[in-house]
Symmetry: C2
Subunit: 552 residues, 2 copies
């Protein structure tokens, strides 16, 4: 029974609130308040964090906080600087707690983890934030195997906890986790939501996750983070193609040519398939069409046409192709409406994260999904370990070098250990061929995190930094604390970092990490709500013995 | 059965390891490895963090991460700047998530908490770190009462969990938490450690914690964070002293004179007491002797002397003093060896955190404890809420003003709500007399944290910033996001921030927060182990359109 009503704060009439009101990023407070999906994403995030922490504690990892006011070291990506009042000196915000956690291992801590805030001052391409959270972990007397096993345990338990608490609500194109109501048990899926959305259980996952080497990923999927939901692998076919066709799709001398097939729904007719393909090719980004290795060539199988639409391959072309086909490529079994894409590339070892065909494959598949033309993978969540990365990558392929003079940089970071004895030998003979004991965890084409066994012997670390990467004395000195710690009998150790924002985003069906961060920054690094970064005053700069650079 | 021994890493012979080896800060990796106490402190810290998180989750507070790349606002203490590649713009590292958490309340989140990294670029006096961790929390539709109650629950449960897992090992002058062994149950304290150290249970604590107003704290203890383990309160005695004596200890016109008594152990004899007192006064910091309000005057009670050693007070002086004594001052009951200290101060309202006698009281008590001359308080852990702080403090008393033109600043921060209706009225009439709904949690003289009910009405917030603090348009604009959020029907809310480093330090008997932080910075803000901050290069500065300031 209400006896009185008290007025706590007015609500202005110029704010329109309705269930479908769209608020701009500047009104994050209203988004958070009126967009249930966003608020639920924050609850889901907190749930996962708590669940992951619990398992990490149970596995004997110790939650240790490490500094974020670090110093600049030539570790890789660009760091933010934090000037100090001591003239000429600055802290740097670390891109990860990498060096401190290795020192913790050298200090005999056994196991460490932390939800660590990390920083990267880079062009905000793609879906990256200048500050992000990773669940960072490290363990002594561990190899990559130990860590992959532990990460599988942690993910599996978080997953099972999530299945217990959340179901998937699916509106056909995207899904959202929805807290299970009191009535819904794991086996009782009878309750129906008010809308026409489907509600289903999160599928089960099982460990160990499948593994694939970097080489296989690049060869079969054209990506070092393959989305295993996309059917059919890439097949190298240049030996099975006529020189005429190869010459038509590429000006390269003896290129590698690869083919990939996409099948549409059974009930998509030939005309529909060809319209879709034509539309897709027309709107394809120019970087595909203007590729110096040659543009992609997509052909659709059509039993009503001469040579089923593959006359460009020459009279025997299609047969030769099909005879070469591996089962996983699906090329031996072509049906009306199936599309086959051909793409040339330079004949050289894989470098970097993508081939052009790999990118095309993802783009075409996603377009087909959005157009409702392909079956969706029932498993929906496909985890994968990618292993055996090259230790070093030529500098042209990486964002920011490590400041050495070698012309190449550590693929991940210069503390990564070589994979096996033969890779140790290659460090001396041919470093670019040495493989690293590095592993990436990939889910549905998204890199959730990566880790490695680390170099734990000071002499080896020094060799990599000075002799392989070509760091001079000044840069070497930046690592003296780490070398000192390794030198004091540091045990072998390995670790991992889970990109927590991304983990939450993928599990909650969010298309951007911005949808699982309370106050995200836009792709220019601007907090559109609070208005940071702000103007610096001359007065503030003076505190740090700095001034604006004069324009010349 | 050992079948083989494999060599994993050498340990150099130039590192001497023994149980009493002392390693410098530069060898933090060796401190962590060989000083059990330090490693245990990190385990204890992780234990408390996990325990606090669990209770916060249970109370319905949601773990939400807020940005650390914020913008500079005139909120109080000095902020670090983080220059961006957009010329003239910088992020600022926040001293707390204050504004973001208030926006979360405006966004209808209900309850929020976070173990938040915070930053303060200040002179590293005392035991402060440029980066520190606080358990930050906020709740909607809450008053200070709600929050104090929740904090008590959280601390009580963490405390009980700690009592279940840890016992106190005491070496006479300091203590360490020691993980309970399998044999030790809560009631079985029979196991004896190898050393002569005493092992005991952590004492029980009970809630609610006692409360005291700022005025009472300053009057009775000379401090806004009184250490309740120190016996006897301060007594104002200028009306009971002869003008001669007052004139002797101060040149002030009509000063306030206060007295405080310290009793030593029963078995300390008069000579020992007087030697101790003489030694203490001789080594006392010059800021006491050179105090413009007058130096402290300490007298020891000695029944063998004329007027028991109090002849300076005049013939009737001691009797007048004793007749004025309150029971809590203990001055009516003087025994041989008891010391009484007199100190003058200006006759004006309390400002800031200490009176000179308050500082003297702590210094003398600590010296007596270290000399083994006083009984230790059995309860050992004395929590206290300090309430009813003034909303504003004259600028001379605060570190860094809020950039307004009023000549005073918000005592804590400008978002603190006035305590009651009479304080709202005082905002208009006499702001310096208005009390805030702010509460500090104090344990054994250490401020563990503070919080307040916040201003939740935009107009009131604007009035405080613009009209009371005198912020101009530019500075007002820095708060536009907060005002916008308050304006959209923000509910009343209140919160708290627990200084987690300090909480761990006090509970683990550490004399410095550095002993509970894996990689602390020294009092110049330098990470002596890793060597940060490092030199900035001109090249790095150019990225941010900055250069070193030319010397003139």
């Amino acid at each position: 029974e209400i006896s009185s009503i008290r007025y706590l704060n007015p609500f202005p009439k110029d704010i329109i609130v309705s269930s479908d009101a769209v608020f701009p990023a500047e009104a994050r407070h209203l988004q958070l308040r009126f967009h249930d999906k966003l608020k639920e994403a924050l609850r889901f995030r907190a749930f996962l964090k708590s669940s992951l922490s619990e398992t990490m504690n149970g596995l004997g990892y110790l939650d240790v906080e490490t500094p974020t006011l670090f110093k600049s070291t030539s570790e890789g990506a660009r760091e933010f600087l934090v000037p100090t009042r001591r003239a000429g000196y600055a802290y740097a915000l670390p891109q990860s707690p990498q060096q401190y956690k290795q020192v913790l291992m050298a200090s005999g801590l056994g196991g460490y983890y932390q939800f660590a805030r990390c920083y990267r001052d880079e062009d905000h391409r793609a879906d990256r934030q200048p500050e992000f959270t990773q669940m960072d972990l490290e363990r002594s007397f561990a190899t990559g195997e130990t860590i992959m096993g532990d990460v599988e345990k942690v993910v599996q338990r978080a997953w099972d906890a999530m299945r217990g608490e959340y179901v998937l609500r699916d509106d056909g194109t995207s899904f959202t986790p929805v807290k299970r109501t009191a009535q819904q048990s794991l086996d009782d899926n009878s309750s129906t939501p008010a809308t026409s959305d489907k509600v289903s259980e999160y599928p089960r996952i099982s460990t160990p996750f499948p593994r694939m080497t970097y080489e296989d990923c690049m060869t079969l999927y054209g990506s070092d983070k393959p989305d295993l939901r996309i059917p059919n692998t890439i097949l190298r076919v240049d030996e099975n193609l006529s020189p005429d066709f190869v010459g038509m799709i590429s000006h390269l001398e003896s290129p590698i040519v690869e083919a990939w097939k996409l099948s549409l729904h059974e009930d998509v007719d030939r005309g529909e398939a060809q319209n879709f393909l034509r539309g897709f090719m027309e709107t394809l980004h120019k970087s595909f069409h203007q590729n110096p290795d040659g543009a992609p060539q997509a052909l659709a199988y059509d039993s009503s046409k001469p040579l089923q639409g593959f006359s460009a391959l020459g009279p025997d072309g299609l047969r030769a192709l099909q005879e070469a086909a591996t089962p996983s490529s699906g090329l031996s079994d072509l049906q009306d409406g199936d599309m086959v894409v051909f793409q040339a590339r330079r004949n050289r070892p894989h470098q970097g994260g993508w081939t052009k065909l790999g990118e095309f494959r993802v783009a075409l598949y996603q377009a087909a999904v959005e157009a409702g033309l392909v079956e969706r993978d029932d498993a929906r969540f496909r985890f994968l370990w990618v292993t055996d990365f090259p230790m070093f990558t030529p500098d042209e392929e990486v964002d920011v070098g490590q400041g050495g003079s070698a012309g190449f940089s550590a693929t991940h970071h210069p503390f990564t250990a070589p994979l096996g004895p033969e890779d140790v030998d290659l460090l001396f003979a041919d470093p670019l061929r040495a493989r690293a004991d590095h592993y990436d965890l990939v889910l549905n084409g998204v890199e959730l995190g990566g880790g490695s066994r680390r170099i734990h012997v000071a002499k080896m670390q020094e060799y990599v930094l000075r002799d392989i990467l070509g760091l001079g004395d000044t840069k070497m000195a930046e690592f003296s604390h780490l070398l000192k710690a390794l030198r004091a009998g540091c045990p072998p150790h390995a670790g991992f970092a889970l990109g927590f924002d991304r983990f939450v985003a993928v599990l909650s069906g969010a298309s951007s990490v911005r949808d699982v961060i309370a106050f995200p920054k836009n792709n220019k690094g601007v907090d559109e709500f609070a208005g940071g970064p702000g103007r610096i005053s001359n007065e503030a700069l003076e505190t740090y013995h700095l001034q604006f650079k004069r324009r010349k």
